[in-house]
């Protein structure tokens, strides 16, 4: 069964994390994504981890993960002939996605005016740090700057310490996940209604206007005058992070505390109705009483033992696993989360597979992330270039053929 998007062709000029993740999600479900790389390649080929820990453009684990199922064509858009190649590829494509700074594509001569003149039904989706307009449109960002400014970082950590971010590029993965629906939405209007348009997608706005709490702190402040405080935990009464025999677990009591009582085996000390009273639940004396018993229960159990009892009682209590434990976890193995990848430079290895299951048009790892320029000749031939023309373009360094 082919993926649902088999008839969608995307010219993908995005680089680094968010844009490539968005187009990977579409490529993984069948879209024909042609990754147009600058000479030298997407700079994310230079991001670790590298296989064997030595820096090499074809051994980046980061590049691999965010570029599966795409084909790579190396094209020099700074050359006028490169622009001609781009426009010919556009004839066979449905949509263009890019992540350059505002204005760069126009200066290269392949901005909105050129795209729209050549193919009126093709949308141009631009993914930038702060958007195409406004005083910050040219500003640089990093994961830290993006999440610090637009995400809910201010609240994260302890009051006596500096705010602390999430792992790695988690915020950009959130943004890419949102951008994928913007791309597909624009493609629907292009393919179904014949109307191309510009889409201005801002990474900062995907957080300011997203759901990882920033939206709620902004409206909550207006409603109540409450400002954001930095404090540890999840804000659920009788809950939070607790140690057990071999690590930590995260517990939610609060409105679900009846199930915690069940998980603990309905002991006599938990029979008082105060334990289910939402006001009493926030009383420090009650919390201390709970923790005195709970620590004892936890320290007699491993994370897996706690999980087993939580599942039985349907309590909201999860172990903290490490990444190697996740790869070995029986649940995710049984569900088939992991896919097997093979790559010329990286060998054979496991990667997270489908993000969701579709019964009639499933996810498929059709091809690994491309080597630089691996598909230059193939894609150009599909666009009608002869063998000789491809060679001539390569000789003049307009394209690079692997």
């Amino acid at each position: 069964m082919p993926g649902p998007l088999a008839d969608l062709t995307i010219l993908d000029l995005t680089e680094y994390i968010a844009g490539p993740y968005a187009t990977k999600l579409l490529a993984d479900y069948g879209a024909n994504v042609i990754k147009l790389e600058r000479p030298g390649g997407d700079p994310s080929r230079g991001l670790g981890p590298f296989k064997g820990n030595s820096k090499h453009a074809e051994r980046s684990g980061t590049f691999f993960y965010f570029n599966t199922n795409k084909r790579s064509l190396v094209l020099d858009l700074r050359a006028p002939e490169g622009r001609q190649v781009f426009l010919r590829l556009l004839d066979g494509a449905d949509i263009v996605v890019e992540s350059f700074r505002p204005g760069v594509l126009d200066r290269l001569g392949v901005g909105w005016d050129a795209v729209h003149a050549r193919k009126p039904s093709a949308p141009l989706v631009s993914i930038t740090n702060f958007g195409q307009t406004g005083p910050y449109r040219e500003f640089r960002a990093s994961e830290l700057v993006l999440f610090g400014f637009a995400g809910e970082m201010y609240s994260m950590g302890g009051q006596d310490r500096a705010p602390v971010k999430m792992y790695g590029t988690a915020a950009q993965v959130e943004s890419g996940s949102a951008a994928a629906s913007a791309i597909l939405g624009a493609a629907m209007v292009g393919k179904w209604q014949g109307v191309g348009q510009r889409v201005d997608f801002s990474l900062a706005e995907s957080h300011l206007l997203g759901v990882d709490r920033r939206h709620a702190t902004v409206i909550g402040y207006q409603f109540s005058g409450r400002k954001t405080q930095r404090r540890a935990g999840a804000g659920v009464a009788l809950g939070g992070v607790y140690p057990c025999a071999d690590g930590y677990v995260e517990l939610a009591g609060g409105a679900w505390f009846d199930r915690v009582i069940e998980m603990l085996g309905n002991p006599a000390w938990l029979r008082d109705p105060k334990w289910l009273d939402p006001v009493a639940q926030t009383d420090p004396a009650l919390i201390e009483e709970f923790e005195g018993h709970f620590y004892e229960w936890l320290l007699a159990r491993t994370r897996r033992e706690v999980l087993r009892e939580a599942l039985q009682a349907r309590a909201i209590c999860a172990p903290m696993f490490t990444v190697d434990e996740l790869f070995d976890d029986p649940h995710f193995i049984a569900r088939g989360l992991w896919a097997r990848a093979e790559h010329a430079e990286l060998g054979a290895f496991a990667i997270p597979g489908r993000p969701f299951l579709m019964s009639d048009s499933p996810w498929e790892l059709r091809r690994p992330a491309p080597l630089l320029g691996q598909h230059t000749a193939e894609v150009l031939r599909e666009a009608g270039y002869s063998e000789g023309e491809v060679q001539a373009l390569a000789q003049r360094h307009i394209v690079e053929v692997r």
Partner: protein, 442 residues
Amino acid sequence: MAHLPLHGIRVVDLTGVWAGTFATMLLADLGAEVIKQENPYLMQPNTRGRRAHLTKAMLQGGTAWGSGYPNNEPGPRPWNYCPTFVQLYRNKRSFTVDIRGPEGMDILRRLIAKSDVVMENSAPGVMEKLGITYEWLQGIKPDIIFARMPAYGSSGPYRDGRAMGVHLESMIGHALLRGYPDLDPSNSTATFVADYTAGTQAALAVMMALWHRRQTNRGQLIELSQAESAVPMMAQALMDWSLNQHLQSAIGNRSLDGAAPCGVYPCRSPGTPEDSGDHWIAITVGSDRQWEALRKLMGDPEWARSGDLVTAEARAQRQDLLDARLAEWTADCDDYELMHRLQAAGIAAAPVLEASRALDDPQVLARDLYQPQRIYDDVGVYKYMTPFYRFSETPTGIHKPPVAFGEDNEYVYKEVIGVSDGEYARLRAAGHIRMDFDESVP
């Protein structure tokens, strides 16, 4: 005039809590008619609020995002303006029906017959108990798209597991990869990445299924495990283990890719003495050239001239020193002013923004990100977030402010389902049609 991408698509929204309501909000933003089914006799905790009925005492001491109700009062119908959830009800319709009995299920069946998509994110078993299965839906509408978003999935040993975003992130390994490297994870604050990724990807999956249906005339069953959808946020750590059997650990605010310095540094900002402390600027120096520019900005101090700091590799070895020195320099600066100076020099920087300041930020204002709305229960006019989709020809926006519980009962029953006036009166008398939760609901 072109239509929004999902114009003409009707979604029956059986979701709750955060991820599901976010997913259906995105579909509504993109033009679908999203009809939220609500039950006056049942409230899943954390759907439209921690609980339906609140007292003022329950709100004391809580966070802005959890307990910051208008004027710090629960008001007569707190489920309509809980700060955590209210904004996710924009652009939607809401109607009430008690689907625990055959009469209510018949109403739901008649709605589904006129719809394209059904979405839910209850724990596995909850829908089955009500009789809502993919087969049942197909019997009503053969090309229906049914999207389910269980926490861990409908199969496997954890299928009955209950979780919120923060628990999923513990399970899949994010909790141990973030936070302060010198403190244990009990010092971290919960994040809800899984709600974000599950919501965006469930919306995406439904759009893919609609794309597929247009070609094949077939609907399908979508299952998105919220835990699995969040796994890619740790891509680098996963690849490091898979390729190198190297286990990463928390590095706080530092860069995975060796950019140095990279951190948050104390700043001043305008305001009362109480407000002006605890402000921070995030700075990432991404290249040696940017380091040169930063040195110049700082006035080329003696310590920064060291040959030991010229390359990123060398700076990465001396980050404690760099952080301490930079903090001394930033401590007397205004955060916004410093952002402009650093950005002008080509260095990525911005304040770590406390939420109340986001409303006045020049970029936020220039792009009109928050817009004034008055909701059905008039608690005042406040600025609500707008959609993050900016399309030039099919503009999205808030075309309907966050919907109150049961606000569209007349529309949904009479115009969509086709219920007669007499039947409407009877269903109302039977308790299906209401604008409040029953007193029996906590």
